[in-house]
Symmetry: C2
Subunit: 496 residues, 2 copies
Amino acid sequence: MEVRIRLLKWSAGLPVAMINEKTAEHFGVHPNDRISIRTNSKKSEELIAILDTIGKFVKDGEIAVSSEVNSSLSLTNGQRADIFLAPLSESISFIKKKLVGKELKEKEIKKIIEDIVGNLLSEAEIAMFVSAMYTQGMNLKEIIFLTKAISETGEEISFKNKIVVDKHCIGGIPGNRTTPLVVSICAATGLIFPKTSSRAITSAAGTSDVIETLAKVEFSSKQLKKIINKANSCLVWGGGLGTVPADEKIIKIERMLNIDPEAQLLASIMSKKIAVGSNHILIDIPFGEHAKINKEKALRLKKEFEGIARYFKRKIKVILTDGNHPIGKGIGPSLEMRDILKVLNQDKDKPLDLESKSLFLSGEILEMTQKAKKGKGIEMAREILESGRAFSKFKEIIEAQEGKIKKLPLARFKKNIFSKKAGIIKRIDNKNVKFLALSAGCPTDKLSGVYLHVKAGDKIKKRQKLMTLYSESRLRFNQAKKLLKKENIIILKQHN
Amino acid sequence: MEVRIRLLKWSAGLPVAMINEKTAEHFGVHPNDRISIRTNSKKSEELIAILDTIGKFVKDGEIAVSSEVNSSLSLTNGQRADIFLAPLSESISFIKKKLVGKELKEKEIKKIIEDIVGNLLSEAEIAMFVSAMYTQGMNLKEIIFLTKAISETGEEISFKNKIVVDKHCIGGIPGNRTTPLVVSICAATGLIFPKTSSRAITSAAGTSDVIETLAKVEFSSKQLKKIINKANSCLVWGGGLGTVPADEKIIKIERMLNIDPEAQLLASIMSKKIAVGSNHILIDIPFGEHAKINKEKALRLKKEFEGIARYFKRKIKVILTDGNHPIGKGIGPSLEMRDILKVLNQDKDKPLDLESKSLFLSGEILEMTQKAKKGKGIEMAREILESGRAFSKFKEIIEAQEGKIKKLPLARFKKNIFSKKAGIIKRIDNKNVKFLALSAGCPTDKLSGVYLHVKAGDKIKKRQKLMTLYSESRLRFNQAKKLLKKENIIILKQHN
């Protein structure tokens, strides 16, 4: 039996074909199968499409195809074709090889990544790949091949400059929005700093969410080059550039499975740096008992980052920082941007920890790029910040990204939280403060979040203001207040 | 921000909601996310739905919901609601626990299976579960809990009879269609034999595909009971009964990933037997150098089957048979049915190996159920077959399943394959003969397949007819002929 083609004016983003359930049964195919469609004409061609089954819309013996199928096969309505279950991609066997703990070769990893980019692997199959990396791990050689494959399957952006700077902080610490400050300080010296960031995946805000309170962050690679021409730096969302399409698809599945294999974490970060041609890279790994990453893992990651950079001949500095506490006062896109503007503006109530960490990171980059002499980086960074040159550069970036500096409003609903007793603050729980900000509406409602009035080590009195909760939705505000009652966010030292 | 509900007269089989991409971005949600929809009314209710994003069909700030959402929340058009990213199911953490090699508790396995049945796990998440079972394995205790959970989450079918018989053959051997013969022989003695089978997954035919050449195989559990009332046995498709919904979903993913974890293989078989109340079970494990299963695995599976049966207090007999060669002459739904009818009819050219294996298996069941004295089972089975009582019973079953016995036609296209030289046949390759039948159109084109005129051990002359290839489609016929040239299907003994 053959099927009759029915052309649809319907674009699905990838080749999709629909048949009804009876026809599917006849051919022994199922929804989500990849089928091979072959026309019976002389120049016999073939195309792999994802199959969907549908009720009455498609008649028995008919196959409705999306415009992507038509553009590859140049079909006519009513034309006859034969359908087959497409053979499994070879990459499935490579994924299985990793799943049973074997080392993958470069060409095997490359094939998997190419098939992910080419829509030849389903979400379930990508999930098997993520599971395999998670359970079996990858050695440095495999991680390097993965990084290479991810950066090679996307668009490349190159700059003529000898020095191209980049930084990355492995997330998980609330607040900690050093990137806009570090980029502004370093770029003020003329360094090329094409910084791409992510949106929040599981956190209250990603750098892109924060920048979006003032400017656009989604640009094509062509637009990115224009921004760099204007401001010699940028603060854009990496997802829109098309430099690492495989990474985006893998991250989508990781997010669904809530697992983050180390190999993919490393390849994800480094492939983006490779794709934009960065050659002086600073990596910040906050670690600690109350951070996502413990000391052992931090040291292992450091070594792996250095190994990847060595292979790709990039200069790298990996620093381990204290990840036990939130950094800055605001947690949530808008509240974090308010903190950044306070530091840039040198306001009296600027968050000192955010400022000093940003100066430290900037200092490292200024020394690495030989803009500052050894040991003089922080000093130079401070001078750039205090002189207002960093703020000018930040304004330039925001304007190049079609935004402007403005005072950000506070959210509609607000609640102050006071201490019940006096004491000394032992720590502020990273995880619980994040959940509080998420339940208040972060990162989607940009004005929501938590503002911390105190920090670890502070001596507090009874009924002192500890934090303020902000939300734009009454429902979420109430939900967050409920969480406040249940969770211990600000932890006092125990008296003996 | 809230969304406005738009009700659709659209049933998706499970709760699905659609918003446009802009709204999705605003809420920070993505296609395939599970979202929680909450109405703002006083009796605040919540429902988890799968999110889809769509172009122009849905307006900004609008959410279109399938009828399944509406029936649970009783919404009105234009009603306001809030959407949240639904919290991850707890079962994700149990799957991760297995992925890192830890033993799962009964309640953890139960939760995973319940979530699979309740549509709370996506295909990617089920793929992670399948990957975890595949890479880490499960111990007997876990396999028992898995079997229990799979059979408990479906419909149960019970019979009042003290003895309920079942059999299962672990597939992979072309031909080998003993089930219709064994069921007919044993049921002729009055035994209750509610046999459910699968369709082909990766083979040229499943028992259901073969029975379908004469009768219907899809029935509800209620209809199944009626069939058993008429014929005290049946030969139906297990998938339609709703007894093991989790199994069907897991198998779909296994098929996609092309992996078949042992734990799931065992649980899949045994949960179906438990669900229909079978208490005398015969398991046939064909093994060998040229079979899917080697001796070591066959012996391990035997032990595990026995362990599961012991837990559920079912009588079981597991036999290991020779799996190195195809059984019977026909391979493909219709050709296999022709073989079965020849055996039932005691035709001169009946396939002797299929007959003798069926008599052996029937004999085991007759002895296990004490219908025959020890050592007298095969004899009794032969008497039932030769007397025509087995054929009468088979007719009864086919008629109870709304079919009738008829002569089956041969396919439109046919090609005889002859030997190029004289010699002795060493073996007929299971895998290659399967691929040949698949490429000819099996299992969907029921008339296609391969008919073997010779078997292992036969002395053949030059230009002797070895096999016949059948197909209904010219395209597939040509494809199969190409394969014939490439692959070595009938292997001769080497002369020294």
